[in-house]
């Protein structure tokens, strides 16, 4: 006999994280592709992240220790940032000095529930408008569309 246990799935956890981060936005979608195909795109930060994030020109992993990564991002608008990353199947959180990014996914039959988080982890009074705008773009509809396109392109390839 066992007690009932609540399931705090990856997307619920990402929503909870966003609720505690100033200006954070979560965008969710259901992707018509299996989890492994979706997460192959999500986890391939170096090759795929610049393909769906409009502000990022390159994203280079500089060290890797289990699920902890360090990366260097370069952008088109002069963005240069070092990111600390936690990456594991279904869960990714990325933190630079100003930004917090995240992805979460879990399988739902033949489809995959997927979510992006964009936010700034600065205290609300120190979060600048450009940082908040950039954070918003990270979880904007354009990014979701590009990401889904990459999943289907990769699945077809």
């Amino acid at each position: 006999m066992t007690w009932p246990v609540a399931d705090l799935d990856a997307i619920r956890r990402l929503r909870a994280l966003a609720a505690a981060v100033p200006g954070a936005i979560v965008a969710e979608t259901v992707i018509d592709a299996p989890f492994d195909q979706v997460w192959a795109v999500a986890a391939d930060l170096e090759d795929e992240l610049p393909a769906y994030l409009p502000d990022v020109r390159s994203f280079t992993i500089t060290s890797r220790d289990g699920e902890r990564l360090e990366a260097r991002a370069r952008g088109y608008a002069g963005l240069r940032a070092r990111f600390d990353v936690v990456l594991r199947p279904g869960w990714c959180v990325m933190r630079s000095r100003f930004l917090l990014g995240g992805m979460a996914a879990f399988p739902d039959g033949d489809q995959t529930r997927f979510a992006f988080l964009g936010g700034t982890h600065l205290p609300a009074q120190r979060a600048t408008a450009p940082a908040l705008a950039l954070a918003g773009r990270w979880a904007g509809p354009k990014v979701i569309t590009r990401f889904v396109d990459r999943v289907h392109q990769r699945g077809a390839g």
């Binding site: 007690w3 009932p4 246990v5 705090l8 929503r15 505690a20 959180v93 917090l100 936010g119």
Partner: protein, 167 residues
């Protein structure tokens, strides 16, 4: 550094606004929040767990002693689970006096069925006592209900559960 020291450092970093540390605190608490909210919120448990985690992460800055994270988070989660369960409960739960007597075939039903016969507050006390090992006074204080009332109303329910678990 000890696990306690590492956890305290993590909480302090999250309190300073470090989003990655906040995500790690979330990781550390995820299983426990699921365990605390499940028996209280039942069919609404997943929603309750999400609400509880939001309340915990938002309230983290107010936690004075980082080493007290789990005890503090448990209190927040239990109150949130009770709130969600009360908000969404569609049927008025039966009084405890209508619980099946020992030996009643209804006791063979699963624990979820028995829990659904209790109010959210009573489910919370039962979970805190029998799953978390808190004494009645502490459990009642956490839920802000009188200890004496809790004791008398739950005695019979606990006996029923014990019989089931030992079967």
């Amino acid at each position: 550094m000890t696990d306690t020291g590492r956890l305290a450092g993590l909480v302090q970093a999250a309190q300073r606004g470090d989003g990655l540390a906040l995500a790690e605190v979330l990781d550390v608490l995820t299983l426990a929040v699921g365990r605390w909210c499940g028996p209280i919120a039942l069919q609404d448990a997943d929603d309750a767990a999400q609400e509880a985690m939001i309340a915990i992460l938002r309230g983290l800055r107010g936690l004075r002693d980082p080493a007290a994270l789990f005890g503090w988070a448990r209190a927040v989660a239990v109150r949130e689970a009770v709130r969600v369960a009360r908000r969404t409960e569609r049927e008025q739960p039966a009084e405890l006096t209508s619980l099946p007597a020992p030996g009643d075939p209804m006791l063979a039903a699963d624990i979820q069925d028995v829990l659904s016969r209790l109010t959210p507050e009573h489910r919370a006390v039962l979970m805190l006592r029998d799953l978390e090992g808190l004494d009645e006074r502490t459990a009642a204080a956490l839920l802000r209900v009188p200890a004496g009332t809790v004791k008398s109303r739950l005695a019979r329910a606990r006996a029923s559960f014990r019989k089931e678990w030992q079967a």
